[in-house]
Structure formats: structure tokens, C-alpha cells
């Protein structure tokens, strides 16, 4: 099984016209992160205003409440009916507090599921707008099952029998973005970014300081162009001038044209073909080799070598009580392990680094 990764060549809109790229690639990607987060950048409702001829916002998940960070409802674009679902950031501090900075809560994702299913019943294509730092990481979100809501929203998108077009317009932040981003076609604005974790969170974990966020942003290849090369994004749409924030109406016009074009492309597919094709799009993601069955891993024997045994024999018992299978459930144990010799500190970090969410979010 060789490379399952790159596969499809992507047609892309023309390359960046706007900011002359700075010399350092790290600065270049960081500039894009800043553009993606620019508070003057047009957010979902503003873009929807430019793109649609009519839109009625619907509220509430029918289970708990209404989440201002995720908006949606039926709309009409050039005479065609669609269902809109998107993250909503605020334009200023007041609105951001109301919108929770675009960080979805469980009720937001469950509202999205409700709208997806309504769209399916009525045969309306779905257009999602992705712009979030990530799902809300607070205690109340955990109490109401934010992971469950995200997983079920992705599940609803996987089985939906109508076309789904996903537009990443700003920040594509981890699971909170993906919850409404599993489309048939994934389009991104030129200065949008998409990543598995915020660059600050990644830097805090792997570099141990959020100040290394630009390095993390570069390493994760989070710019729209890089994501298009990976096949995660199908199509990149150029932004006007210095970026979408200078001309929201023009940005909307460009997105509108792309939506109509993609709707036309997907209209030819039957519901079964749509679901199968969407399943296939996500089934192939991954980059691995199959090294075969019997090859033992060189150096990994069952029995410790002489040096190990000697070393352990000489070590005081109290110092070697650590159970590398996972000493303790939680951070205390890990910190204690970190405090031991350097070898164990490295292991301790390895144990932590799979975190999907940052230990600190600087931006929110």
C-alpha cells in the first residue's frame, strides 16, 4: 500500500495576487494567520448578505438552547435554494462576547445537525462557512458533550444525501471547524488557514512556548495553498486587494460564483453517488506504508539488554517506580515523571503531545 495521500490533482483558482510574500516563509504563513484572524475580515453573516438574495436565520437546537457562534438557515442564491450553516465571529468585543468568538458549543453543533437533516428532507444543497478558532473548551461544553456533538455532526455530513459545499473563509480551527467542514467540495479563501490545532497550542506543547506559534504554523503547513497541495482543500479563491477585509462585497461575489459553479458540478450526481463519492474523498486521506507482517522492529527485543539490566539493578527502587505504560491518570503523574531524569521527561512529553486541543489559547 503506497502513498494514499496526494492522489487527485486539484484545480486551483489563480495564485495569490495580494500581499507580496515576505522573505521568510515563517513570516509569510504567520501573516496569513493574522489575515485569517483579522477582526475586520467579513464573517459569515456579512458574506451571506453579499452572496444570497434571501436568507432566513433559524435558531436553536431544540434540545438546550441557541448558540450564537453557529448560525444558519435556508437561503436563495441566484434563484436556487440552499441551506446555510456557518461559524459566526463578532466584529467587535461586544459582539464577540455574544458570539463566543466563533467557538461552537454543543448546542451549536446540534443546531447544525438539525439544519443538515432539514436540508436533506427538502433536497436543499448545504453550504457551510468555516471560521472558528476551535470548539469552545469550557466546562459547560464538556458537560453537554461537545465531543459527542462534533462527532455526530461529522457523521450527519458523512451520510447526508444532498450536496455539501464547504467554504473555509477564515480560521479552520481543529475539530470545531471540521464539525461542519466535511463537504463534497472544500473551498478556501486565499488567506484562510486550516490546522489540527491552533499554532499557539501546538507551540505550547511541542516547543513549550506559545511564542513559537509562527514555527508551528509553518510546520503544520496551515495556509490554504499548502492545504490544497495536501488535497485537504480542493480549490483556493483569490481575495481582492490586500485581503478579504478590504472589499467584503467583492469577496462575496467571488465566493458566489464558486458556489454556483460547484453546485452545478454536484447537481449531476444522484444521492447514492454523492454519498459514495464523499465517502471516497475522505477514505483516502492518510500517508503510510505497509511494511508487511513479519518484519520485527530492529532493536526492540523482548528482553532488556545487559546495560539496561545493570542500570536498573543499581537504581534505587523508589526512583524507578514509574510505569512507562502510563504511571498515573493525569497531569500530576506526568509532571512527576518529567521531574525525573531527562529520558523520562522526553517520554512525558511524548505522552502528552497527542493533544488535539491547546493547553493555552492565547487568542480567544
Amino acid at each position: 500500500m503506497v502513498d494514499r495521500l496526494l492522489g487527485r490533482p486539484r484545480d486551483r483558482e489563480t495564485a495569490p495576487s495580494a500581499p507580496p510574500p515576505p522573505e521568510d516563509p515563517r513570516d509569510a504563513v504567520w501573516a496569513r494567520v493574522q489575515l485569517a484572524r483579522n477582526p475586520r475580515r467579513p464573517h459569515t453573516l456579512e458574506l451571506v448578505g453579499h452572496i444570497t438574495d434571501a436568507f432566513v436565520e433559524l435558531h436553536g437546537d431544540r434540545l438546550f438552547g441557541d448558540d450564537g457562534a453557529i448560525v444558519g438557515g435556508p437561503a436563495r442564491i441566484d434563484g436556487r435554494r440552499v441551506m446555510i450553516v456557518g461559524h459566526q465571529k463578532g466584529a467587535d468585543t461586544d459582539e464577540n462576547i455574544r458570539r463566543n468568538f466563533g467557538m461552537g458549543k454543543p448546542e451549536g453543533f446540534r443546531k447544525a445537525i438539525r439544519l443538515f437533516e432539514l436540508a436533506e428532507r427538502l433536497g436543499l444543497p448545504v453550504v457551510t462557512f468555516v471560521d472558528t478558532p476551535g470548539a469552545y473548551p469550557g466546562a459547560e461544553a464538556e458537560e453537554r458533550g461537545v465531543a459527542d456533538a462534533i462527532a455526530r455532526s461529522i457523521g450527519a455530513m458523512c451520510r447526508l444525501r444532498v450536496p455539501i459545499i464547504t467554504l473555509i473563509t477564515g480560521e479552520g480551527g481543529s475539530g470545531g471547524a471540521l464539525a461542519i467542514a466535511a463537504g463534497d467540495v472544500v473551498v478556501a479563501l486565499e488567506n484562510a488557514v486550516y490546522a489540527v490545532i491552533s499554532p499557539e497550542g501546538c507551540a505550547s506543547i511541542l516547543w513549550r512556548t506559545p511564542e513559537k506559534a509562527p514555527d508551528a504554523a509553518l510546520a503544520m503547513r496551515m495556509s490554504a495553498q499548502d492545504q490544497a497541495e495536501l488535497g485537504v482543500i480542493d480549490r483556493v479563491v483569490a481575495e481582492p486587494g490586500e485581503g478579504a477585509h478590504v472589499d467584503a462585497a467583492e469577496t462575496g461575489r467571488r465566493l458566489r460564483a464558486v458556489i454556483l459553479e460547484e453546485l452545478d458540478g454536484l447537481a449531476a450526481l444522484s444521492p447514492d453517488e454523492l454519498v459514495a463519492k464523499r465517502g471516497g474523498r475522505y477514505r483516502v486521506f492518510g500517508a503510510f506504508d505497509d511494511l508487511g507482517v513479519t518484519e520485527p522492529i530492529p532493536g526492540a527485543a523482548d528482553r532488556p539488554g545487559l546495560a539496561d539490566r545493570l542500570r536498573r539493578a543499581l537504581e534505587p527502587v523508589g526512583k524507578s517506580v514509574g510505569d512507562a505504560l502510563g504511571g498515573r491518570t493525569g497531569r500530576d503523574g506526568r509532571d512527576a515523571r518529567d521531574a525525573r531524569e531527562g529520558r523520562d521527561a522526553r517520554e512525558g512529553r511524548d505522552a502528552r503531545e497527542g493533544r488535539d486541543e491547546p493547553p493555552a489559547r492565547e487568542e480567544v
Binding site: 477514505r283 517506580v321 512507562a324 497531569r331 491547546p358
Partner: protein, 288 residues
């Protein structure tokens, strides 16, 4: 101070010490007894983390497990380098665990019933989900689909593997898509949540069991506890993100001790067997 000897350990391995101190009650536990007790503290009931292999040994009928796809290994798609290259981290984890990646899947029998089963190993880079873990969970679901048998996934993971970037994130969709097809086919899926199950793993296949079974006091949540405690200034409720917290909020069906897990799963498999499957446990076992 530990003695510092002038040579490095040949490889990083689980230290085979005689004694282990229980991190919960501080009791010194004789390792042989601990192993006999399925790595659960006999004094306070603390469940130590266990490897995927130990998990499969505990759950499956002896000699029935047939591993699939054990040779899958990640390719470092981004050429990711932080303080050290991802490729080096992979090699170190492979040497430490003797495994190619953090997931093991195959077919086996549990209480005489054939199942597709996948277990994650927290000892391999925190059990994090990159391309290989996502692929193995997906193939386990597809294996269950093809054979029309139940699926069991035992999760122990910090979440998506950052070093694989959005390709790790795409594994959420890939695994969930496979589970959707399983569900549409009327086949049951049991998710076992061990300590810890967080981030992108909990926000995908681990949360979606038809039955979610958790080990006592397992850390289960979306955002790391420090995220919530550190930046969102609010008091965390007692037992926050522990199995019992999830249970009381309705996201876990059962909290089951390790000693009871095998019998509990066997009973669930008997009661939830797919429509049309035989009830005769021994008759449904196939070797291979």
C-alpha cells in the same frame, strides 16, 4: 538522586521493576501481583494504563486473535520538525513499544463470538491518531462490515497527532464515515474508553459507540483539563472529565472495572447480536 551510569539504555522500554507505587494510594505493589490483577491496584482500585497487546490478551479468548495490517507505518507527510523530527519520534516510539504505530486491529473471539477489534496504545506517542491509527480503526470497522460481526474499539489516546497536521484531522471523518456504514448495515459497535480518551479521538469514533463503556476514573474529554482550567476562568466541577462525570451527564452507558470488562462485553455481544446472526456462541467462531 538516581545513579547516572556512563551509558544510555539500549532502548526505551517499559522498566521491568519489581515494585510499582500506586499513584493513587501510594501503596507499593509487587509487579507480579499487579499483573495478575490486570494492572489494577488491589488496595484502591486504581486502573493503570495497559498496552494494546495486554488489552487484547485480557479481552479475547486465548489464541483467537489474528492481527491484521501490523506493518502499517506512518510516512511523516509534512516533514514535521519541532524540537526533534517527527520521524525520529516515530522511531523512538517504535523501539520503545515494538509496534509500528499506536493501534492494533484484527479479528478474534470474545466469549466465543467473533468480533473485529481495535485497541489503541497510549505508550506509543500518547496513543495519538495519525494516518495509521485512523486507517486501522477504519479497516476494523470495514472488517466488521464485511463479515457482518460486531466491532469493538478500545480507546486510550490524547487525540489527533499534531505532527500529521490536517491529515490527522481528516482521520476523524474517515473513521466516522466507516462507522456510519456499519450503523446503516445494522451492526453493533461497542466503544471502550480507557484512560485517557481525549481530543480528536473522543470527538470521533470513541464517542459514537452504540454502547459506550468506560473504565473507572478514566480521563475522558474534548479539551485538556488545563485548557478549561487555565484560560477559561471558571471553577471546574469535581471529578471533571472523569468517567463518572461522563456517566452522570449521559455520555457513557456503563462504568466497568477491568476485572469485569470481558464478561460485560460478552454479555453485551450476546444481547446486541446483529439481526440474523446465530445465538450459538461457539458456532459463530471462526479461526483465521
Amino acid at each position: 538522586m538516581p545513579l547516572t551510569l556512563p551509558f544510555r539504555p539500549r532502548r526505551e522500554t517499559y522498566p521491568p521493576d519489581m515494585w510499582t507505587k500506586c499513584p493513587s494510594c501510594s501503596e507499593m505493589l509487587f509487579n507480579k501481583h499487579l499483573a495478575k490483577n490486570l494492572r489494577v491496584c488491589g488496595t484502591c482500585g486504581h486502573h493503570f494504563r495497559i498496552s494494546a497487546k495486554a488489552r487484547l490478551d485480557q479481552l479475547l479468548d486465548p489464541g483467537t486473535f489474528r492481527e491484521r495490517d501490523e506493518g502499517l507505518a506512518s510516512r511523516d507527510p509534512l516533514g514535521f520538525v519541532d524540537s526533534k523530527p517527527y520521524a525520529d519520534r516515530l522511531v523512538a516510539a517504535q523501539l520503545a513499544t515494538g509496534r509500528r504505530d499506536a493501534a492494533t486491529w484484527g479479528f478474534g473471539a470474545l466469549g466465543g463470538r467473533r468480533v473485529a477489534i481495535c485497541a489503541l496504545d497510549f505508550g506509543f506517542m500518547g496513543g495519538s491518531m495519525g494516518s495509521v491509527v485512523g486507517e486501522k480503526v477504519t479497516r476494523a470497522a470495514e472488517g466488521a462490515f464485511v463479515e457482518r460481526i460486531p466491532l469493538i474499539v478500545v480507546s486510550a489516546s490524547g487525540g489527533a497527532r499534531m505532527q500529521e497536521g490536517t491529515l490527522a484531522l481528516m482521520q476523524l471523518v474517515k473513521t466516522i464515515g466507516a462507522l456510519e456504514r456499519l450503523r446503516a448495515a445494522g451492526l453493533p459497535y461497542i466503544s471502550v474508553l480507557a484512560d485517557p480518551t481525549t481530543g480528536g479521538v473522543f470527538a470521533s469514533f470513541a464517542a459514537l459507540g452504540d454502547v459506550n463503556v468506560a473504565e473507572p476514573n478514566a480521563l475522558i474529554g474534548f479539551a485538556g483539563a488545563r485548557v478549561s482550567a487555565g484560560t477559561i476562568a471558571e471553577e471546574l466541577p469535581p471529578g471533571f472529565q472523569r468517567a463518572e462525570f461522563l456517566f452522570s451527564h449521559g455520555f457513557v452507558d456503563r462504568i466497568v472495572t477491568r476485572a469485569d470488562l470481558r464478561d460485560e462485553l460478552a454479555l453485551l455481544l450476546a444481547l446486541l447480536r446483529p439481526a440474523g446472526a446465530t445465538d450459538d456462541a461457539s458456532g459463530s467462531v471462526r479461526r483465521g
